[in-house]
């Protein structure tokens, strides 16, 4: 919500002389919608009777989520041996799914924090849902390392508490850094999300007619009164949280990539990993934002608020980050060739032509080739196609983590210890179910919380500018 105090009245004299061409900005809200329309639209989603599609989808999501529950119950009651992990691949789908879900979350923070600092006003239409996506994705991510510890009832050993022998976790381990990075990320994202929502919760409270709605939103709104003395502190806090979230989100995926990069496994031990992981995370996250927002936009007829300009921007970010990811793949190969290290060279040739070549080429086609279609305006305007491309991107990004994790472990230094990793049905159940778990949370969010940040959307309308006449 931070904004520049641009003063329209102070026009430099030079501008009258050179008379620059007027380049109108794309309108963010179409059809000149007013403040009341925005309030009605967003509050209407919460206030209307629960729609049938919601009930059906929610039941389906709950059913899918039960797969994770079954998978985890079987795992905990039997042991991690039920996952496909065995020597030499000790890190299979668990880390793949963890990195996948954390990566998805990153677009939410990018939209809420980095685009806020860059004063990209179009972010307002999508930031609330994207932040919700972040929080729920991090929750899904957290399941995997937590249960991968094997005896999950010792999960508290991850935290800086002494165990029964008085031994503490040691802080030289990237896995311990991860605990701090991911838990901080979750906490700060949740604070940022909630704080940004307070004025909108207040707006729902002010319209509430039923007792439970008055109480529920009233308590959550914390007695917000929309006074400018409050807004002043709120805006400052919002800007600061954006400023804190920016280095945070970059550090989280950097530290996640340290899980690999700090080890000495060929194909993992590379300095390119932090920027490469961050670009990939934003890439997959934006794809997920579009996957979620395009159907919601159609269902709730949000076409005036999330218009072609927003979709174009997101497609272009996917194109840019997808190209960066492709460049990173090429760089990895170059560095492997240039390193003169036989193991490093082998690791990359093996990725492209070894026993997991199928996964590698799925990754390349989904991540490098598919997003290039976004160069074309016709493709960006065809929302069904955009949605399908976004699904491909997410499939591709999952395979990227699979390729990195599994190819390097399955074929490392000694051919005598090579192996082939396949997931078991328990792995598949657990991962499949997380999509249900994510959807359950997201559907609850859509139904009960303001889907769009009303105050922020109102702020970017032309009539919100006090200097416009």
């Amino acid at each position: 919500m931070a904004h520049a105090h641009d003063n329209a009245s102070e026009r430099p004299a030079i501008l009258d002389k050179v008379r620059p061409a007027e380049l109108p900005r794309s309108p963010l809200i179409l059809n000149n919608r007013g403040f009341h329309w925005i309030t009605d639209k967003v509050c209407g989603i919460v206030e209307e009777p629960t729609p049938l599609w919601w009930k059906v989808t929610f039941c389906v999501a709950l059913f899918i989520a039960s797969f994770t529950f079954v998978g985890l119950t079987y795992l905990v009651s039997t042991g991690t041996g039920t996952w496909g992990l065995r020597s030499p691949v000790g890190w299979g789908w668990a880390i793949v799914n963890f990195v996948f879900w954390v990566g998805i979350g990153h677009a939410g923070t990018l939209i809420s924090a980095i685009l806020c600092l860059l004063r990209q006003k179009w972010r307002t239409s999508i930031n609330r849902a994207a932040e919700a996506m972040t929080i729920f994705a991090v929750m899904c991510a957290g399941i995997f390392p937590l249960f991968h510890v094997g005896r999950v009832w010792f999960g508290w050993w991850l935290f800086p508490l002494p165990n029964q022998n008085g031994i503490w976790p040691q802080f030289r381990s990237p896995l311990e850094w991860d605990v701090f990075a991911v838990s901080t990320y979750f906490t700060v994202s949740a604070l940022f999300w909630y704080m940004g929502m307070i004025p909108d919760l207040g707006a729902i409270r002010d319209r509430a007619t039923t007792w439970w709605r008055k109480t529920f939103y009233g308590v959550l709104a914390m007695g917000w009164r929309n006074g400018n003395r409050q807004w002043s502190n709120f805006e400052m806090a919002y800007l600061l949280l954006a400023g804190l979230s920016t280095p945070l989100v970059l550090s989280v995926h950097t530290i996640v990539s340290f899980d690999f990069a700090v080890s000495n496994v060929p194909g993992w031990h590379t300095t390119i990993f932090p920027p490469y992981f961050v670009a990939g995370a934003i890439f997959s996250g934006f794809a997920m934002v579009l996957t979620l927002m395009l159907p919601l936009r159609a269902i709730y007829r949000l076409h005036d608020v999330i218009n072609q300009y927003h979709i174009d921007n997101m497609c272009k970010i996917i194109l840019a980050t997808g190209t960066m990811v492709g460049y990173a793949y090429a760089t990895e190969f170059f560095i492997a060739a240039y390193s003169g290290n036989a193991y490093e060279k082998f690791a990359f040739i093996n990725r492209a032509f070894g026993q997991y070549a199928w996964a590698y080429w799925i990754m390349v086609s989904c991540n490098v080739i598919t997003p290039q279609l976004f160069w074309f305006k016709k493709v960006r305007e065809n929302h069904a196609l955009v949605w399908i491309i976004c699904l491909f991107v997410n499939v591709g990004m999952w395979f990227e983590r699979f390729v990195i994790t599994v190819t390097s472990l399955a074929n490392d230094y000694l051919p005598s210890s090579w192996g082939y990793y396949s997931p078991t049905i328990v792995d598949i159940f657990t991962f499949f179910g997380t999509f249900g778990f994510f959807s359950v949370l997201f559907l609850l969010f859509v139904r009960f919380l303001p889907l769009l940040p009303m105050a922020e959307v109102k702020m970017v309308t032309p009539q919100a500018d006090p200097h416009a006449h």
Partner: protein
């Protein structure tokens, strides 16, 4: 004469346009008011200047939180890995600022975020669920599409009739008394 009625919270009026309330706020500021506020559905660009508000004090708590977080991280890693149960890893020093740096970094951000988040609540005096404005009939529209200026009775400039006339001269509509 200042006939202050203890049961009056203040006088309120509404505006329909952001530009109108902005210019009205400048006039209230210039008239020397201290206890007053502008209620808007969204933060208006430049309203802090129009009201003559000082810079928000929230960053002080952010800084305090950040420093506390960094020191907490240092203390935690030093105490656990060097003082209470020294762990030998590769013959390296038991503690330095380098190896746990990711932990210190994350602790700094975490505590700074707590400072900012709670700072916002502390300086806004929230949560507060009982405010006279909540009983005011026009107030519910402020979170929708209406702008409101409230002159509070605790300000030395306050006088029921004069303040009402003042709001009228600013172009305010629906001028009403807010009961305490």
């Amino acid at each position: 004469m200042n006939e202050r009625n203890e049961r009056i919270h203040g006088v309120a009026c509404t505006f329909r346009k952001a530009a109108d309330v902005y210019h009205a706020a400048e006039k209230v500021r210039d008239a020397g008011w201290k206890k007053w506020d502008v209620h808007t559905p969204f933060p208006i660009h430049g309203m802090d200047q129009a009201m003559g508000l000082p810079r928000s004090p929230v960053p002080r708590l952010t800084l305090l939180g950040g420093v506390t977080g960094f020191l907490t991280g240092c203390l935690l890693t030093w105490y656990t890995n060097s003082a209470d149960y020294p762990i030998v890893v590769g013959g390296k020093p038991f503690w330095s600022v380098i190896f746990p740096f990711p932990v210190l970094y994350e602790c700094t951000i975490l505590f700074a975020a707590f400072g900012t988040f709670f700072g916002q609540f502390i300086f806004n005096r929230l949560p507060r669920h009982h405010h006279p404005l909540f009983d005011h009939p026009q107030f519910a529209r402020v979170s929708d599409d209406t702008f409101m200026i409230v002159l509070e009775a605790t300000d030395p400039n306050f006088h029921v009739d004069e303040s009402r006339n003042f709001l009228q001269s600013l172009g305010g509509q629906e001028i009403t008394i807010v009961r305490d």
